[in-house]
């Protein structure tokens, strides 16, 4: 058994810093590169791309990235784990193998984890008695079933472990949990069992710290953010994992950013609910047991994590079409910038009313005054504002209403209050609203598949 392994985060979401994975594999020693590409909305976007072209539906950044990093990873023996396979992990694996051939790689084992996509099995699942009730509202899924765009089960680390056991150099998955990407190599290398709950919880905590990339190493840090050095080449986090479940979170020395008690603590509290019940398919981790300790420059020890047996369910993330929306903006300048923007909003709303358009919601914000902190902005003196961006959003089931709204913004420039600008970008475009439907499904109703796609 290895004495320790180093797992590096390469992406925190699809759209993250493109250079990060390259820097992770070239600027120091690591054993695994893990990359999270999937947010709830991402799956529906990928599903739409796949509907238009059966060869798409995965994170398109992956093949060009592999072209750059595969030679280094093969030379150094770095394994890659990513959930960027999205709704088409096989096509992603094909594309990766193509790229590998192109750059002259002779041997590569790519493992695909699938089975998470249950969109075509919804009817069978419902008839087996699982109504996929919305976890928040309790409603059964039948009401929106015909509008579903995607439906994916979150698999945990153990599916990836199976893939690693088959000597995979690269593991490409569909919807696996972000934390499972980091936990899997620990289970695989250290031989942890399914009931080693404390260790699984420790690995899950490390996964939670790594899953948003540089948010653990000084990015978006609300402490003394001005003390963070070299944001331009910020180092993404690395978990140095030990067989007993302890981890040291660190980064490559030559890269920027900071790893401290404070930067790690901020990421620990990010997007959590009840900290005693951080539920994953692998375990329930109790975040209140986590202890942190500074362990040298840019090194933080994470230890004492307690965990419990997982639940009998997988989480399912569904997305469905829910009408259309559009957002329009115009900029008003001083004096009385807010007063002008407010008058323009009233004129716009009156026109929408006269046109008898149907909206579920019309939402106005004044960027520079209240768009971030809403009613808390009351303390600001509007006369102090040098400029204000009027930002109006609408949402409707009726496409025509939203489309007409997009044509009512520009006219305000010549037909409303003065000192207005900022319409160079043209009319806003209506976009489809994709709503999110979280549900649970008994683990017994779904099974993952592992497929090895080798280049030999």
């Amino acid at each position: 058994m290895k004495e320790k392994i180093r797992i590096a985060s390469g992406q925190g979401f699809w759209g993250d810093l493109i250079e990060a994975p390259y820097l992770q594999v070239t600027r120091g020693q690591i054993d695994y590169l893990v990359m999270d590409y999937l947010a709830e909305v991402t799956m529906s976007i990928l599903q739409k791309q796949k509907n238009k072209n059966p060869l798409l539906g995965y994170a398109k950044d992956i093949p060009p990235l592999m072209k750059r990093i595969l030679p280094v990873c093969i030379e150094k023996g770095i394994k890659i784990i990513t959930n960027g396979g999205g709704v088409n992990p096989y096509a992603c694996a094909d594309a990766v193998i193509e790229v590998a051939k192109e750059i002259g790689i002779k041997k590569l084992i790519v493992a695909v984890v699938s089975g998470d996509d249950i969109l075509n099995k919804i009817d069978a699942i419902i008839s087996s008695g699982c109504e996929l009730n919305n976890m928040d509202s309790g409603e059964p899924i039948t009401g929106i079933k015909d509008k579903l765009l995607s439906a994916n089960v979150y698999f945990g680390a153990f599916a990836i472990v199976e893939a690693l056991k088959q000597s995979a150099d690269i593991v490409i998955t569909g919807r696996t949990t972000d934390t499972g990407l980091t936990l899997a190599p620990m289970i695989y290398e250290f031989g942890w069992e399914e009931d080693d709950y404390n260790k699984l919880a420790a690995g899950t905590v490390a996964g939670h710290i790594l899953e948003c990339g540089a948010q653990a190493t000084g990015g978006n840090f609300l402490g003394d953010w001005e003390s963070i050095e070299n944001f331009a080449e910020i180092g993404f986090p690395i978990a140095e994992a030990y067989p007993n479940g302890e981890t040291i979170i660190t980064k490559h020395d030559s890269l920027g950013g900071k790893v401290s008690f404070e930067t790690i603590a901020e990421q620990i509290v990010y997007e959590i609910g009840d900290p005693k019940m951080y539920i994953t398919p692998d375990c329930i981790a109790d975040f209140t047991t986590i202890k942190l300790e500074n362990a040298g420059a840019n090194r933080v020890r994470v230890y004492n994590v307690k965990g419990y047996k997982p639940t009998e369910s997988y989480k399912v993330s569904c997305s469905y079409e829910d009408g259309f929306s559009a957002v329009g903006t115009l900029t008003y300048s001083a004096p009385a910038a807010l007063k002008k923007a407010d008058a323009a909003d009233k004129i716009l709303r009156k026109r929408l009313e006269l046109l008898d358009l149907k909206f579920d919601e019309v939402h106005t914000e004044y960027v520079g005054f209240n768009s971030c902190n809403g009613s808390l902005a009351g303390k600001t003196n509007p006369d102090d504002l040098n400029e204000v961006v009027l930002r109006v959003g609408v949402r409707s089931k009726d496409y025509k209403s939203v489309d007409r709204f997009t044509r009512e913004i520009a006219p305000l420039i010549l037909t409303g209050p003065p000192a207005v600008t900022g319409f160079a970008g043209g009319r806003p475009k209506p976009s489809e609203v994709v709503a999110y439907w979280p549900a649970l499904i008994p683990k017994s109703l779904v099974e993952h598949q592992i497929k090895i796609m080798s280049l030999l």
Binding site: E40, V41, D136, Q215, N220, F221, L222, G223, F261, E262, A265, E266, Q267, I268, V269, Y270, E271, I272, G273, D274, P275, K276, F287, T288, T289, I290, K291, L292, N304, D322, S325, V327, E361, H363, E365, V367, S371, C372, N373, G374, S375, L376, R391, G393, V394, R395, S431, V433, V434, A435, Y436, P438
Partner: protein, 105 residues
């Protein structure tokens, strides 16, 4: 003496559907005792009046000197449904840290 919470703590916020979560972390034990005493679920609910329209749940993580608040019905529907500029509640932690508290010496 009046102080801003940002002088004794830092934090981070994000989304969970239509709920926002705000984690506030004190810089030291003394600071943790203060936020533990002063930042109740009710205080936070009242502070975000006009932004948070649901319940506020409060959780404690004493090992890392943190409090976690979950603010329900806060993000205008959340995800891509929300028309808010800050549909994910990213700026709410900074807003809470800007709150003034009275500290007795």
């Amino acid at each position: 003496m009046k102080k801003k919470i940002s002088e004794i703590a830092h934090g981070r916020s994000g989304d969970k559907g239509d709920a926002a979560n705000i984690g506030i972390i004190a810089y030291d034990d003394e600071g943790y005792q203060l936020i533990q005493k002063l930042l109740t679920a009710e205080t936070v609910k009242k502070y975000f009046e006009g932004i948070c329209f649901g319940n506020v749940e409060r959780y404690e993580l004493p090992n890392i000197r943190a409090l976690n608040f979950v603010l329900h019905n806060t993000l205008g529907g959340g995800g891509t449904v929300s028309l808010k500029l800050d549909a994910q509640g990213k700026t709410l932690a900074a807003a809470l840290l800007n709150m003034e508290i009275e500290i007795n010496n």
